[in-house]
């Protein structure tokens, strides 16, 4: 980072970055633990995740405040301005990721009341792994500023969407097979959707990071949709 004549300016910028990193770490941890709680039916861990969300909310507000004060006081230009605006946007995305993680944790008890087949959780776990990988890579790029690594991320977002569509279909099948599955499968459906949203937020962060570092918008050719809205199952599919 360039140095400014006023040293505390640098320190302010650095402080913003560090707070964002702390948020990122918490968000990653929350999603990971929420899925773990879901798979292992661990209500205690789920409660911890729900409590952890407070930190993200508070830190996001703090970052917002600090960023606004910084803009008012230092009147940043060019890359500094992008840095500050980027921090505001990334913190908003991370806060949403935390909310989605918290929402998964809240569903743990409802899902695990009726025991579901292991394969359902496996799919969910694989989906979560993809999303977490995406989030980790994006935040690593933010730390190292090596934006050329963002290119691969698009593929991965597409993978997440495909995987989500496939899970959606599978869950519908289970519901049609036995109506007693409907409660927990509906909750699982929301969990899957949440994870898919986390992947989208990671992609948003990637775009912000790209903009912060290069000053240009990431080209918009990403296929931003899953096909679950087209999935219709007939009785034959269930067999």
């Amino acid at each position: 980072m360039n140095t400014h004549i006023v040293r505390s300016y640098d320190e302010d910028l650095k402080y913003l970055g560090n707070r964002l990193a702390a948020m990122g770490g918490h968000a990653e941890r929350m999603v990971d633990e929420a899925v773990l709680a879901l798979v292992n039916a661990d209500a205690g861990l789920a409660r911890k995740v729900i409590a952890d969300d407070l930190f993200l909310d508070e830190t996001q507000r703090e970052i917002d405040d600090k960023a606004i004060v910084l803009i008012a006081k230092r009147q940043p230009m060019a890359d500094d301005l992008r840095e500050v605006v980027g921090a505001i946007r990334i913190s908003a995305d991370l806060e949403r990721v935390g909310d989605l993680g918290k929402n998964i944790a809240k569903r743990v008890v409802a899902v695990t009341e009726g025991r579901q087949p292991l394969s359902l959780f496996r799919g969910l776990q694989a989906l979560a792994e993809l999303a977490l990988n995406q989030l980790k890579d994006v935040l690593d790029v933010y730390a190292s500023r090596s934006v050329e690594r963002l290119v691969f991320m698009r593929d991965r977002d597409e993978q997440i969407d495909l995987m989500y569509t496939s899970l959606f279909r599978e869950l519908l099948t289970y519901m049609m097979e036995d109506p007693r599955n409907i409660t927990s499968c509906t909750h699982l459906l929301f969990c899957a959707k949440n994870i898919e949203r986390i992947g989208d937020h990671a992609t948003n962060i990637a775009e912000t990071v790209y903009y912060v570092v290069t000053g240009e918008q990431m080209p918009i050719d990403r296929p931003k949709e899953d096909k679950s809205h087209k999935v219709v199952l007939t009785g034959e599919d269930v067999g």
Partner: protein
């Protein structure tokens, strides 16, 4: 004030003199005796004798109060210390086998050693540690050490994706007031992996082995009961039982090989293989299977060696599993094309594509075929002696190699599995 200071000085001088005289008492005594003896023998005038005695006292006072051996040892220690001090911290850090990062008061990496660079994927100097290691425990440890609240702190640091790795990280301040701190990572993944492996193995094995086992015990019951004297049925049942036991054996083989892979530590950098040659030998070794299933394997390999980073045996297994799948499930197409190419772009990679012309994979299954025990078509997979683990093994190996697997398929036109490996 001045008085006490002078008293202090005198006291210190006296104790120094006493110490030196005590050390050199024999030399001093002998010298004084010699001077006095000489003086009384020769009857010299008093003045030179007093001068000589005075000189002796002076010499005894100035002589260092350490014996020669001790002094010598002190000197060697000093030169050793000099050599150690001349040693650059950089080369010391490089010599450490564990990942090690030196960072300054602002939390910026000053030096990243080789082990850390390969373990954490391109952490260059100038990187903010707080941004790279975001786990909350790491954050607080780094924060507390860099602000000087504590001198050192030990925390567990876990990376879940892409491969689970567990470290015990020690964050500590270097020296006093240098403003530099160091974090050293000790890899603890092994122990965690063994635990995980045991749990996973039992869960998977018990789940998947139960089905064939149930069918075998059912047939045994029938054979001992109603079908006791029915020769045709007996033969038939025994055949089924044999198939089932063979399936169980394959399953156990695959589970073990997956578990073994998971046991191995993260792939060390350095080893390179010629991908083209590996692919060639896989095709050769699977020639009998291809002939049996009536599939022609076409090679489109070029003639340049293509170096990639990786382990030969593991990559062999990757291509073997993929080609085996292509021969089995793409049997209807009658041919399989294996091609190798170098893909350009920001990071050069070797891409190996195995394309079959069979029925293809329905779109909704594509993202999930690498999950353990996920089968597109359960009956067909059983008929082809699949265990549901082949692609899971492929995916695991590629993740360890920093590689990727991409799958393209169109129903009715076949499927293409492409392995992307970072080029050397």
């Amino acid at each position: 004030m001045a008085d006490t200071r002078r008293q202090e000085q005198t006291r210190r001088l006296l104790s120094l003199a006493a110490g030196r005289f005590a050390n050199n008492r024999w030399m001093f005594g002998a010298g004084a005796a010699a001077v006095l003896g000489l003086a009384s023998y020769a009857g010299a005038p008093k003045a030179p004798v007093f001068c000589a005695l005075g000189f002796l006292v002076f010499a005894a006072f100035l002589a260092p109060n350490r014996p020669r051996g001790q002094r010598h040892a002190g000197q060697t220690a000093a030169t050793d210390r000099g050599r150690l001090e001349g040693l650059s911290a950089r080369s010391l850090a490089e010599a450490v086998g564990d990942p090690l990062i030196v960072f300054d008061r602002a939390g910026t990496a000053v030096h990243v050693n080789q082990a850390a660079r390969s373990a954490f994927n391109a952490t260059a100097p100038g990187l903010s540690l707080l941004m790279k290691f975001r786990a909350p425990e790491m954050q607080s440890a780094i924060e507390r050490v860099r602000t000087g609240a504590v001198d050192n702190e030990v925390v567990d640091y876990t990376e879940r994706v892409p491969i689970e790795r567990v470290y015990r990280a020690t964050v500590s301040a270097i020296g006093r007031g240098t403003g530099l701190n160091v974090v050293v990572f000790k890899d603890q993944s092994e122990a965690r992996r063994i635990d995980r492996m045991r749990a996973d193995f039992i869960a998977n094995a018990s789940h998947e082995l139960r089905t064939p086992l149930a069918s075998i015990s059912g047939f045994v019951e029938t054979l001992r009961g109603p079908a006791r004297n029915d020769a045709v049925a007996r033969d038939n049942f025994l055949q089924i039982m044999q198939n089932q036991t063979a399936r169980m054996a394959r399953l156990i083989d695959d589970l073990l090989s997956l578990s073994r892979l998971e046991m191995k530590p993260y792939l060390p950098p350095g080893a390179t293989v010629d991908v083209r040659q590996v692919v060639e030998s896989v095709i050769d070794s699977l020639a009998p299977l291809a002939r049996e299933s009536g599939v022609v394997v076409e090679r489109n390999l070029g003639d340049q060696p293509l170096e990639a980073r990786g382990d030969r045996d593991e990559l062999f297994q990757v291509f073997e599993n993929l080609l085996e799948n292509a021969c089995k499930y793409g049997q209807a197409g009658g041919r399989v094309v294996v091609s190798v190419e170098i893909a350009g772009g920001p990071a050069a990679e070797v891409a190996v594509t195995i394309r079959d012309f069979g029925p293809g994979i329905p779109e909704e299954h594509i993202p999930r075929v690498t999950e353990r025990f996920y089968r597109v078509d359960v009956d067909n997979s059983r008929a082809q002696k699949g265990t549901g683990l082949g692609l899971a093994i492929v995916k695991h190996i590629l993740t360890r190699h920093n590689g990727r697997l991409t799958i393209w398929s169109k129903p009715g036109e076949g499927a293409a599995f492409t392995v992307h490996l970072p080029a050397k």
